[in-house]
């Protein structure tokens, strides 16, 4: 892997990791909200 490819590799990996982290965080909050709402129902 050339240095340029290495750089591109790391850029892509980083951006993908950020998207995954954001998605996970979003689902944590969503499930918290769902839980609160459904407990409120019962």
């Amino acid at each position: 892997m050339t240095p340029e490819e290495q750089k591109e590799f790391e850029r892509r990996r980083k951006s993908r990791n950020l998207v995954v982290a954001g998605t996970l965080l979003f689902f944590v909050m969503l499930f918290y909200a769902i839980t609160i709402v459904r407990i409120g129902d019962g």
Binding site: M1, E5, E8, F9, R12, R13, S15, R16, V19, L30, A33, I34, V37, R38, D41
Partner: protein, 309 residues
């Protein structure tokens, strides 16, 4: 599965945007819109958080099955101008990654729907995913010129599932919403297929214009448009909506017929024809669906608020 697409050499991770592209975001706007309409038009209420979750689950299911569709059809897509730059035929992504992403997204969407909303809506979502990814994409699309009619069934699920997420039961109204999109799809898509015909012929997908010829396709566009009208008006007739939706449906149906007639009655288009009536019909068909569902929601919201009977 051997890949025919050019590889980038080393295992360069795919851009996350390419994963997003696999979910067919443009198709998803219509899915999300009709699903929201199903949720809003259904009688009864749903907590906004749960309503949002139901829409999200439907969108994820649609995305997951779209990914599986693109995974399965990568070779076909590579042969058509319209689709050759999709992430898989473009060689920007590993096929197995697309397959796994599609299965994961589909699975999570069904579980999310089941846990947060209910298992009837989840079962319908699973059915919709299997219907699109397996029955349509893998089995019937390459085998029958009625593939678009069958594919329309997949696109028809979102408002039905959205409705059932609220009410928890399948009644006449959500089935009518399903039927509207089901009968709307053939004239909508065949209008498009008429002006991109050459591409489908090349990759061996038996699209109606390719197999049956242009004239029968035009006739069928017309007849599906005629069939669609009473179904679009039916929610009003059975008392599911007021005149507000009814009048809109009548007007839109007349407009649709007005534009479908020149397409349906035309003989074969001459070589080099600009296909303007077909393009016009295709464009209108999109506005038609948006307007019809928007009218349904406006009608129901007005009724629940007590503004109209």
């Amino acid at each position: 599965m051997a890949s025919t697409a050019p590889q980038t050499g080393t295992a360069m991770p795919a851009e996350w945007r390419d994963f997003f592209t696999l979910t067919k975001p443009r198709v998803m706007t219509l899915v999300i819109f009709t699903a929201i309409c199903g949720v809003l038009a259904a009688p009864g209420s749903i907590h906004p958080v749960l309503g949002f979750t139901a829409i999200l689950a439907i969108a994820m299911g649609a995305g997951g099955s779209a990914v599986l569709n693109m995974w399965w059809e990568a070779d076909i897509d590579a042969g058509m101008k319209r689709t050759m730059n999709r992430p898989l035929p473009g060689g920007r992504m590993q096929r197995e990654d697309a397959r796994d992403f599609g299965i994961f997204l589909s699975g999570v969407s069904v579980l999310l729907m089941g846990v947060a909303i209910g298992w009837l809506a989840a079962a319908l979502l699973l059915l919709a995913i299997i219907y699109y990814a397996v029955i349509y994409t893998m089995w019937l699309k390459p085998r029958t010129p009625q593939n678009i009619v069958i594919g329309g069934g997949a696109g028809a699920f979102p408002p039905l599932i959205g409705w059932v997420a609220v009410t928890g039961e399948v009644t006449a109204m959500p089935i009518l919403l399903f039927a509207i999109i089901f009968f709307w799809t053939p004239p909508h898509f065949w209008a498009l297929a008429l002006f991109v015909e050459a591409d489908y012929a090349k990759v061996g997908i038996p699209m109606m214009p390719v197999v049956a010829g242009e004239k029968p396709t035009r006739r069928q566009i017309w007849w599906y448009t005629v069939l669609l009208a009473p179904i679009a008006i039916a929610p009003w007739v059975i008392g599911g909506t007021s005149w507000l939706y009814g009048m809109t449906a009548v007007t839109l149906s007349l407009l649709f017929a007005w534009l479908a007639w020149p397409v349906g009655s035309r003989m074969r288009a001459a070589e080099g024809d600009k296909m303007l009536p077909e393009k016009k019909l295709f464009k209108f068909s999109i506005y038609y669906l948006f307007a019809l569902f928007a009218a349904l929601v406006a009608d129901r919201v007005a009724a629940y608020q007590g503004w109209i009977a």
